[in-house]
């Protein structure tokens, strides 16, 4: 399981933005290489992950299994599509509830059109609402 630690600032949920009458931030963004190496994460993604993992007392920022699982699912789809010579990007959506938050995960498989560079996996995280249930729903749709 990949672990990254936020060096500065405390996590901020959408509720904080609404309380302070500020526009909602951009979605949380994570970019993985085809080999699942994390190439980019933005502050919003770190905030949401830390809000979801608030019960995790381990130091640093731990990527939840729901993100790693989605990344792996997209990679499998990428493999299937590349074998079939399909190079168009595709999207996999998942709605999950965890840690008192209901999140929309949008995963994208991005094959490189030039076919010389490896594909990438992009996952966007949007907070839908805060819930009281920690149950994992796992609704998946592939587009």
């Amino acid at each position: 399981m990949a672990t990254i630690a936020e060096v500065n600032s405390a996590p901020t949920s959408s509720e904080w933005y609404e309380t302070h009458n500020l526009p909602l931030p951009t979605p949380g963004i994570l970019v993985f290489s085809y080999w699942r190496k994390l190439q980019y994460v933005n502050r919003r993604a770190c905030d949401l992950i830390r809000c979801v993992n608030h019960t995790n007392k381990a130091p640093g920022l731990v990527l939840p299994s729901l993100l790693i699982d989605l990344c792996e699912e997209i990679r499998v789809c990428l493999d299937d599509r590349l074998r079939a010579q399909i190079r168009e990007p595709f999207q996999v959506d998942r709605v999950v509830s965890e840690g008192g938050y209901r999140l929309l995960l949008r995963g994208y498989g991005q094959p490189d059109p030039a076919s010389s560079a490896p594909a990438r996996i992009v996952i966007l995280i949007d907070e839908i609402e805060r819930t009281k249930s920690d149950a994992l729903l796992g609704d998946t749709a592939i587009a």
């Binding site: 990254i4 630690a5 951009t26 980019y40 933005n42």
Partner: protein
């Protein structure tokens, strides 16, 4: 102000990694966010304001106060075409040129390739 050597124009031989497409001079302020991974266990964010110099469907030329690493993926917040809100784009740094900026230090010309543009899922 001293200028670094400017990259070759379209008429000259182009590096194969250079973005194609017609470039439109677009000088506008934009936001950016860089993530620097430290020792594979921690991440440090750098964010601030930059300037676009030209844009094309394949990428953007930026003037930015922090130097991204080669092929580093980062986030750019561009003004929306209708001047409403902003457009977030993921880009990859293809090349950088250091430029001295008077006594304020250095800025960097960065040629970046467009990778992905997240669309908002909510209103």
């Amino acid at each position: 102000m001293s200028f670094s050597r400017i990259p070759p124009t379209d008429e000259e031989s182009a590096h194969p990694d250079r973005r194609g497409g017609k470039r439109v001079p677009t000088i506008e302020p934009c936001g950016y966010q860089l993530a620097h991974f430290i020792d594979h266990e921690s991440v440090e964010f750098t964010e601030g304001c930059a300037l676009t110099l030209n844009t094309s469907p394949q990428g953007v030329l930026l003037l930015i106060p922090h130097r991204p690493e080669s092929q580093q993926v980062f986030e750019v917040h561009l003004p929306a075409p209708a001047k409403e809100g902003r457009v977030v784009k993921l880009v990859e740094a293809c090349w950088t040129r250091e430029m001295a900026f008077g006594t304020e230090g250095k800025v960097y010309l960065v040629g970046a390739k467009a990778l992905f543009e997240p669309r908002s899922s909510m209103r």
